[in-house]
């Protein structure tokens, strides 16, 4: 039931062409000062983008230069070592990160998207409690991550859930941290699905649930995935809350989800970067590259998935 935008009727195509010509004529007769301002504005925009890229480029180049001697398969397949920093790697930390992030994805997809569907499709906006929920979700997105760490320590590691210092506790804590972002992004995506799609589906006798599952969600999927990519990227880089919920710095055995101690990449890198020995700092720089690689791999999978659905929707 997706409305086809490709085949506009002849009349509207003419109207569009006329509007474009009119706009063009206004801009081509612009005065000299307008043109100068135009160039200046573009220069400012470029400068802004340059700053953003400069920071990123500085980190990547510095890590590449510093960490170059340690880039290799050892970095992925060897565990940490305090005795042999020159051959130590990040295996246990990578596994820890995958467990934690895997848990985050499995948790935030149903919960986050579910909450968004409720708020967009079912909730009655005129009720005060629904509006209260909305405001709270927006506020939660701005809470510092360390606060979620304390929450995780008090309610997930200890207290009601008492999971202990395991990867699952880290996973739940990070899930709570990024959940607001997922909900907000998913809501926007669901909102962007044209109402005519819903009406068409309902008009043909589909139930509300069938309408959402078969028409609204597929249409909103690219947008939802974008929100997920952003959230997971944030979760991967978090160190502060995980330090509180038990990510340790030295684990030589492969971690599991509910039982053993675990470490994650950012915590391990932070720890190595602060060591007195030069070899560890080289290892830390190589770890930064490794973390960027892990992040890119996970994100490119999500981006591939998003493009896949985007193309499907267009057809």
């Amino acid at each position: 039931m997706v409305i086809d935008k490709g085949k506009q009727p002849q009349r509207s195509r003419l109207a569009v062409a006329g509007a474009r010509a009119a706009t063009d004529s206004i801009f081509t007769t612009s005065s000299k000062s307008d043109r100068v301002a135009n160039v200046l504005f573009r220069a400012l925009l470029l400068l802004g983008m340059g700053f953003a890229l400069l920071g990123l480029a500085a980190i990547i180049i510095w890590s590449l230069v510093e960490g170059a001697p340690r880039l290799g398969p050892e970095l992925i397949f060897e565990g940490p070592s305090s005795i042999r920093p020159e051959s130590a790697g990040y295996r246990t930390a990578i596994l820890g990160t995958l467990w934690v992030i895997g848990g985050v994805v499995l948790f935030i997809v149903p919960v986050g998207v579910g909450a968004a569907i409720y708020l967009e499709e079912y909730a009655d906006n005129t009720r005060w409690w629904n509006r209260l929920i909305e405001v709270n979700i927006q506020n939660l997105a701005a809470v510092p991550s360390i606060v979620f760490g304390i929450l995780g320590l008090a309610f997930i590691v200890r207290g009601p859930l008492s999971l202990g210092f395991v990867a699952a506790a880290g996973s739940f804590t990070l899930s709570l941290l990024v959940l607001p972002t997922v909900i907000l992004a998913s809501r926007e995506a669901i909102k962007a699905v044209p109402n005519s799609t819903r009406l068409g589906s309902l008009g043909l006798g589909a139930s509300q649930w069938q309408t959402i599952w078969h028409h609204v969600l597929p249409g909103a999927l690219p947008g939802i995935l974008t929100g997920l990519i952003l959230s997971v990227s944030r979760a991967i880089g978090e160190a502060a809350p995980l330090l509180l919920v038990g990510a340790v710095t030295f684990v030589t055995f492969d971690p599991s989800f509910f039982e053993s101690q675990y470490s994650v990449l950012p915590v391990q890198i932070y720890n190595y970067a602060g060591r007195p020995q030069e070899e560890f700092r080289v290892l830390a720089a190589a770890g930064v590259i490794l973390m960027l690689a892990v992040l890119l791999t996970m994100n490119s999978f999500a981006i591939w998935l998003r493009n896949h659905y985007e193309n499907k929707n267009k057809r």
Binding site: F77, E78, G79, S81, S82, I83, R91, T92, I94, L95, L98, W99, G102, V105, L106, R158, G164, F165, W213, H214, L217, P218, L221, L243, G246, A247, V248, T249, F250, V251, T252, F253, D254, S260, Q261, N271, A273, G274, R275, P276, Q277, E278, R281, F301, L305
Partner: protein, 327 residues
């Protein structure tokens, strides 16, 4: 139609960690194949969780690694949330041992008692706090009184020239930049007690580097007027990029060398590093083995981690303490 896709996605997401665990497990088996030290040690197994000081942490890591080479069935993990942060978990019964770069505080001991956790303090190495300055700084020796003038609570000393009796030469008008660890650090507690007479008493306008002592080295290296205090391993590893001052604790200037730290003449900034073990943990044979291993191999472990080894007397003392907890 969407459900099938989602199942595929979820399946892939779950499969990745499993696949990597499998690969990792394989390579682990390979690396242990050539280890002949594991003979006879296979009856010891179990896990030990250590937390605490970021100064002692690297030392415990080395000990843990050597120990696990000998007993491959043992899992030792080491975290570093600071001496104080570690005691909080230790006295809550969440860790087996706590690394400490100072002695346990009364309120921490009370917390342990409240949870019925008996513990023993075992010294595992010697350490020295070095007061470091930029190599361009003409000063070679500082007395505790002078350090106190600079670091004490309410101190207004802003340039090197303002410190009584310091021949700071060209540096006299240079701004004094100070770096120190955060309040969760045992290094902080020890330094404030030794120099300012009371734990936690210190001026507030210095740069707080948290648990990252290396940041102090970087800071002092790049600023001729800077000063910081760091553990032994940091200034020895830093080499010529910073200068560790001699300390005059009342009996003349003493250099922070291995001998001076061991024989106690580097005073009052020489200190012991400890591991606290709970009686509960030491009911497990693996923990007892680990502690004894830690002490017996003090020489090798401290050398690898960059600390000052225990003396014969200290080793005998530590062994006796472990025995007292296990009997």
């Amino acid at each position: 139609m969407i459900s099938k896709k989602w199942l595929q996605v979820a399946g892939v997401a779950v499969a990745i960690p499993f696949a990597l665990t499998a690969c990792g497990g394989g390579s682990e088996g390979g690396s242990e194949g050539g280890d002949d030290a594991s003979e006879g040690g296979s009856e010891v197994s179990g896990s030990i969780q250590i937390d605490g000081s970021s100064t002692v942490g690297p030392l415990s890591e080395v000990a843990a690694e050597l120990f696990m080479e000998q007993y491959p069935d043992v899992q030792v993990s080491v975290a570093m949330s600071g001496t104080g942060g570690g005691f909080e978990k230790f006295c809550n019964g969440e860790t087996d041992m706590n690394d400490a770069s100072r002695e346990i505080k009364d309120e921490e001991a009370t917390a342990c008692e409240g949870n019925d956790i008996a513990f023993e303090q075992v010294q595992v190495a010697n350490d020295a706090l070095g007061i470091i300055v930029n190599p361009e700084n003409p000063i070679d020796c500082i007395s505790i009184d002078q350090a106190n003038q600079i670091w004490n609570e309410g101190s207004t000393v802003a340039t090197w020239g303002e410190v009584d009796g310091l021949e700071s030469g060209d540096l006299a008008s240079e701004d004094l930049t100070l770096y120190g660890p955060g309040t969760d650090s045992g290094t902080f507690d020890y330094f404030t007690e030794a120099v300012n007479g009371e734990e936690g008493v210190i001026r507030t306008d210095y740069t707080d580097i948290g648990e990252d002592d290396q940041a102090a080295i970087v800071g002092v290296e790049g600023d001729p007027g800077a000063m910081a205090y760091v553990p032994y391993s940091y200034f020895t590893e830093a080499g010529d990029s910073v200068k560790a001052l001699q300390i005059d604790g009342g009996d003349g200037c003493v250099e922070p060398t291995l001998e001076n730290v061991q024989n106690g003449s580097y005073s009052p900034l020489g200190r012991g590093l400890f591991v606290y073990a709970s009686d509960l943990a030491l009911q497990e044979q693996v923990a007892v083995e680990f502690m004894n291993f830690y002490i017996d191999n003090s020489g090798e472990i401290t050398e690898l981690a960059g600390f000052v080894p225990l003396t014969e007397d200290q080793m005998a003392d530590a062994t006796a303490k472990i025995e007292s907890l296990t009997s």
